[in-house]
Amino acid sequence: MGKLFRYELRLIAFNRFYIGFFAVSLCFGWLILSTGTIQGVAHTAPFSPWSFGSYLTDLMPLLSIALLFMVWSFDSGQARRAKPLLNAATIAPFRHAAVKCAAAATAWLLLSAAIMLLGIGFLIFIFGNAVSIPALLAPAVSILLPVILFLMGSGLLALSRSRKIFLGLPPALLALHLLPLPSWMHLLATNFYSTYPLHMDMVDPGFTVPVSFIAGKLGYTLAGMIMLALALRKKYSCHT
C-alpha cells in the first residue's frame, strides 16, 4: 500500500507540470507578499491571521486550478499508459483510485505548505518575533480544507462523466471567484479576510469568524466528501 502511494506521489511530484507550477506559485506568492500583505489588510498587522488569510486566498485561484489539473492528469498520458500494468496487479481498482487521490492531495498540500512556509518566512524575516506562527494556522486550515475536498470531489465526479464537463470547471471556478456573492458562498473565501475585520468595530481583532462562514465552509467540505465518494464508487465499482 505504502509502496503504491509513494509511486503515485512520485509520478505527480517529479512531473514537469508540478515543478513548473511550484515555481510559478512561489513567484506569485512573493509578488503578493511584497505588494499586498506587507501593507496589512483591514487595518491589521501584516503578520495578523487576517493578512495571512488574505495572502492565501489571493493564491487560491491559482492553487485550485493546479488541483484541478492534478485531478485531470489522473486520466491522461502517463497515467493511462500505466493502467494495464496496474490493472494486472492484484489491487482492487477502488483502493487504487483512493490511493491516487491521497497522493494527489498530498502533492497539493505540499505545494500549499511551501506557499505557507514562504509567507511565514517572509513575515519572520521582516517582522522577527512579532510573528506568532500558531495564530496563522487557523485561517490556513479554514481555507485549504474545503477547497481540496470540494475540488477533488467535483473534479473526479465531472471526470467520471466526461472530460468536456470537466473543462467547464476552471471557468466556473473563476466566475465563482470574481462574482460578488455573499461571503459564506465563496469557496475561495474571496475578500473575506480583508473585509470582515472591518465590521468588527475594534482594532486588531483576534481570529473569529461568523457562523454562516463556518457553515459555508462545512457545506463545501461535506459536499466535497460526498462527491468524492460518489465519484470513486461510480467509476470503479463496475470494473470489479
Binding site: 514537469r16 507550477f21 503578493i32 506587507i38 489539473f69 492528469s73 471557468p171 473563476l174 482594532v203
Partner: protein, 738 residues
C-alpha cells in the same frame, strides 16, 4: 501559397467544429456579465453603482467580454494545439505539413476566429446598445471601445496560449501558465496601466465630451502587449519539436531560421521602448511636497504687465502648439534669469527676447505635472519674451489609473488647463495692483465653442482657409484654463446672481428633463439663506461649467466647474427619489461661499483647515435638509469616519516602530493621502462636533453667518482656524476626535 490553402482548410475545420461554435456563443453573450455582475469601472456616485451611459452599456460589457473571451479562446487554443497529440497523429500531420507551418496555420486561424467572434459580438450587441444609450450613441465610439478592449485581449490569449503550448507541449501546463498570466493582470499588476493586458484600466468613459485620449492610452497598452507577445510567439516557434527530438535539440535545429530570432529581438526592443517611452504620463516624483511652492525665482526687479498667447492645437495628432509673448519690466538694469512652468510633455522650439534669440534651459524637473524652463533676459528696461512651444500634453503620473480626464485635444473636446495651455511665468510680481491682462487667440474646428474658467466670453474673429475658426478671449492672470466643445449656455437667476451655465449640447435634453436650473438655484438659495449673499462679484455674475471629467471639480472666483457625471440622469432620478446624486455640483457651488475671496490662506501649515472643511460640511447640511438624516449619515458622516479610521487605524500609523519595514512607495502613498483625509474628512467631523458643542445646527449657522459677513482686516484677511474656534467659544482640544 501552400500556407494559404492550409489556412483555408484549417479555418473551415474550425468553423465546422461544434466546440468552436459553443465557445463563440459563450463569448458573444459574455458582455451581459458587464451589465450586472462584473462592473470594473469604478462608481462615481456616493451610493449604489453609477457611471456614465457609455461606461455602463459599452465599456463595462466590453471589459467583461475581454475576460471571458480571453479565457475561452485560451481553452480553445490549447485544445486546438493539443488536438493532434490527443488523437495520436503527430507523425501523420507532421508528414503532411512541416510542424512550423502547422503552428503558423493554427495560430492564424485562431486569430481569425477571434476576429470573427468580435465582429459577431459587435453585431449582436448593437441593437441593445443603441436602445440603451439613445441620444448619446456614437457608432465610432461603440466600435472602437470594443476593438480596443475586447479584441486584443482575445488575440493576446491566443498568442500567449499558443506560445505556452509550443514551449511545453502540455495542455495542462499551458492552461496553468495562462491562468497565472491572467491572474497577474487581475491582481498584482492592478495598479500598472501598461501591464494590465486582460483588463485595461478605465476610470470613466465620457458621454458628452470625448473618449479620444482614453482610447489612445488603451491602444498604447495593446501595442505594448502586441509586440511583446508576437516576439514571444516567434521565440516559441523555435522550440517546435523536430524529428521527435526534445526541446533543446529541436531549438538548435530551428534557430538556423535566423530571421526568427532577429525579428523576435526587434519586437522585444519595440516593446521595451513602448513600455519606457509611453507619452501619456509625466515623471513627477511620487512624494508630494507641501513646501515645494517655494519662491525660487522671485525677483523684486522683474515685473509682468501682459501675456499674449496664440494657440494652434493640432486636433489630429492631439498636440498643442503655441506662441506666447510676455511683456516684462526689468528695473535692475542687469541680466536676470526668469522661469516658466510648462507641461512636461511640451518642449520649447525657440525663445527670443526683444526680437533676439535668447538662451533657455529645460530643467526636466517634473513635479506635480509641471517642469521648469529658465530663460535668460538682458538688463533692458522693457522686455518682450516670446516662446514658441508645443507637444503632447502629459497627465500627472499619480493619476495613472484615471487617465484621459485631465487634458484633452480632440475634434470633439479641448481641455487645456494652466501649464497645458501655455508656459506660466513663475514668481513674477504684477506691474500694477490689478492682475495683468491675458489675451488669447486660438484656432478651433468649426462646431467647437471655447469657454474659459472665468467670467469672460470668447469672440470669433475670423475664419481660416482650412475651415477652422479663430477665437479671441481677453482675460487676466498668470494662467488660463480653456475648454472647448459643443458647448451651449443658459442663463439662470439664482438668488440674485446671474449664472451662465455652460454644458454640452448633448446634455441639453437631460438638463431640460430634470430641470437642472432649478437644482442649481436650490443650492444658491440654501447658502444665501444660511450665510448671506455673495457680494464680491462684478455685476453679480458667475459661471458654471460642465467638463468632460468625472468624480470632482474645482472653483475659483467667478466660476465653478464640475465633471459631466454631476449631471447624469441616474443622479437626477436619485434626487427625485430622495437620494442625492449630484453632490459635486453642490460642492463646487458652495465653494463660492467657502473658499474664495478672503476666506482661506493658500498655504496653511496645518493643512487641515482649508476651504474644503466648511464646504464639505455645508454640502452635508444641504443633503441632510433635502434627503433626510439617514441619507446624510450614511453618505457623509459614516464616510468621513471611515476615511479617518482608515488612516489612524492603519497598523503602521498605530505602530510607527514598524514603519521602516514598509517599502517606500507605500509610505509615500500614505503621506500623500494625509492632507486630503484631514481636509475632506477629519475637519468636517470636527465641525460636526463643534455643531453639537455650540448647541445645534441653528447656532452653528448663526456663527458661520457671522464669520462669512465679518469685517475684513486687510492686514490679515484670511479666516483662520483660531478665528473659527473663538467664534464658537471652543478650543482646539475641544474638537479633537476621540
Amino acid at each position: 501559397m501552400r500556407v494559404v490553402s492550409l489556412l483555408r482548410v484549417e479555418i473551415r475545420r474550425l468553423l465546422l467544429n461544434r466546440m468552436t461554435w459553443f465557445m463563440s456563443l459563450l463569448i458573444i453573450s459574455s458582455p451581459a456579465l458587464g451589465l450586472t455582475l462584473y462592473r470594473p469601472i469604478s462608481s462615481t456616485a456616493g451610493s449604489g453603482y453609477s457611471t456614465s451611459i457609455s461606461g455602463t452599456f459599452i465599456a463595462n460589457p466590453a471589459l467583461a467580454g475581454a475576460i471571458a473571451g480571453a479565457i475561452l479562446l485560451a481553452v480553445l487554443t490549447a485544445m486546438e494545439f493539443s488536438r493532434p497529440a490527443r488523437h495520436r497523429m503527430n507523425a501523420l500531420t507532421d508528414a503532411v505539413i512541416s510542424p512550423f507551418q502547422g503552428a503558423v496555420v493554427r495560430t492564424i486561424s485562431l486569430l481569425i476566429t477571434a476576429a470573427v467572434i468580435q465582429g459577431l459580438t459587435l453585431l449582436a450587441w448593437l441593437p441593445f446598445t443603441l436602445v440603451q444609450t439613445g441620444a448619446i450613441f456614437q457608432l465610432d465610439v461603440y466600435v472602437s471601445l470594443y476593438l480596443a478592449i475586447m479584441l486584443p485581449a482575445m488575440i493576446f490569449a491566443v498568442l500567449m496560449t499558443a506560445s505556452a503550448y509550443l514551449l511545453t507541449y502540455r495542455m495542462d501546463l499551458t492552461l496553468a501558465l495562462f491562468a497565472f498570466f491572467a491572474l497577474l493582470s487581475l491582481t498584482v499588476w492592478d495598479e500598472n496601466w501598461l501591464l494590465r493586458w486582460i483588463n485595461p484600466s478605465i476610470y470613466y468613459v465620457s458621454d458628452a465630451f470625448s473618449t479620444s485620449r482614453l482610447l489612445r492610452y488603451i491602444l498604447w497598452n495593446r501595442l505594448l502587449w502586441g509586440t511583446i507577445l508576437s516576439s514571444i510567439w516567434l521565440l516559441s516557434c523555435l522550440s517546435i519539436r523536430r524529428y521527435g527530438k526534445g526541446l533543446v535539440r529541436s531549438a538548435t535545429i530551428n534557430v538556423r531560421k535566423g530571421y526568427i530570432p532577429a525579428l523576435s529581438a526587434l519586437l522585444i526592443v519595440f516593446g521595451w521602448m513602448a513600455y519606457t517611452g509611453q507619452p501619456f504620463l509625466d515623471h513627477s516624483k511620487m512624494e508630494l511636497d507641501s513646501n515645494s511652492k517655494r519662491f525660487l525665482y522671485s525677483d523684486e526687479f522683474v515685473t509682468i504687465s501682459s501675456i499674449h498667447v496664440k494657440a494652434f492645437p493640432d486636433f489630429t495628432r492631439a498636440r498643442q502648439h503655441g506662441i506666447a509673448e510676455y511683456q516684462l519690466q526689468n528695473s535692475s538694469e542687469k541680466p536676470q534669469t526668469i522661469a516658466f512652468s510648462i507641461n512636461p510633455g511640451y518642449s520649447l522650439s525657440s525663445a527670443s527676447v526683444n526680437g533676439n534669440p535668447a538662451v533657455f534651459r529645460d530643467l526636466h524637473n517634473d513635479e506635480e505635472n509641471r517642469k521648469t524652463i529658465e530663460v535668460d533676459i538682458p538688463g533692458d528696461k522693457e522686455i518682450e519674451v516670446t516662446l514658441e512651444y508645443g507637444g503632447f500634453p502629459q497627465e500627472w503620473n499619480i493619476l495613472a489609473l484615471r487617465q484621459g480626464l485631465d487634458s484633452q485635444i480632440s475634434r470633439d473636446y479641448l481641455y487645456l488647463a494652466n501649464q497645458d495651455f501655455a508656459p506660466i511665468p513663475r514668481d513674477l510680481i504684477w506691474g500694477s495692483d490689478e492682475p495683468n491682462p491675458y489675451y488669447i487667440e486660438v484656432d478651433l474646428p468649426s462646431g467647437m465653442t471655447p469657454v474659459v474658467f472665468g467670467t469672460e466670453t470668447a469672440q470669433s474673429v475670423g475664419k481660416s482657409s482650412d475651415g477652422s475658426i479663430r477665437w479671441s478671449i481677453e482675460t487676466n492672470g498668470a494662467s488660463v484654463i480653456l475648454y472647448g466643445g459643443d458647448y451651449m449656455s443658459r442663463q439662470i437667476d439664482a438668488a440674485g446672481i446671474q449664472v451662465d451655465f455652460w454644458h454640452s449640447a448633448k446634455h441639453n435634453v437631460l438638463m431640460n428633463a430634470f430641470d437642472a436650473d432649478d437644482v442649481i438655484r436650490q443650492v444658491f438659495q440654501y447658502c444665501t439663506s444660511k450665510y448671506g449673499p455673495l457680494q464680491f462679484y462684478k455685476d453679480n455674475k458667475m459661471r458654471i461649467i460642465e467638463i468632460g471629467s468625472a468624480g470632482g471639480g474645482y472653483a475659483s472666483q467667478g466660476a465653478s466647474v464640475m465633471g459631466e457625471d454631476s449631471f447624469s440622469a441616474r443622479g437626477f432620478q436619485d434626487m427625485r427619489k430622495g437620494a442625492g446624486g449630484n453632490e459635486v455640483l453642490a460642492h463646487e457651488i458652495i465653494h463660492q461661499w467657502w473658499g474664495l475671496g478672503n476666506m482661506f490662506a493658500q498655504d496653511d501649515s496645518e493643512r487641515s483647515w482649508s476651504s474644503e472643511g466648511l464646504t464639505v460640511y455645508t454640502t452635508y447640511r444641504l443633503m441632510k435638509e433635502q434627503y433626510g438624516e439617514a441619507y446624510a449619515r450614511e453618505n457623509y458622516v459614516d464616510k468621513w469616519q471611515a476615511e479617518v479610521d482608515d488612516y489612524y487605524q492603519n497598523f503602521y500609523i498605530r505602530n510607527p516602530a514598524f514603519l521602516d519595514k514598509l517599502p517606500k512607495a507605500y509610505r509615500t502613498r500614505m503621506d500623500n493621502g494625509v492632507a486630503q483625509m484631514k481636509q475632506y474628512s477629519e475637519m468636517p467631523l470636527k465641525l460636526l462636533k463643534a455643531e453639537q458643542l455650540v448647541g445645534g445646527e441653528q447656532k452653528m449657522d448663526d456663527i458661520l453667518h457671522a464669520l462669512f459677513n465679518r469685517e475684513i482686516d486687510y492686514a490679515s484677511p484670511f479666516l483662520t482656524y483660531q478665528q473659527f474656534l473663538d467664534a464658537c467659544g471652543l478650543t482646539k482640544e475641544d474638537l479633537e476626535l476621540g
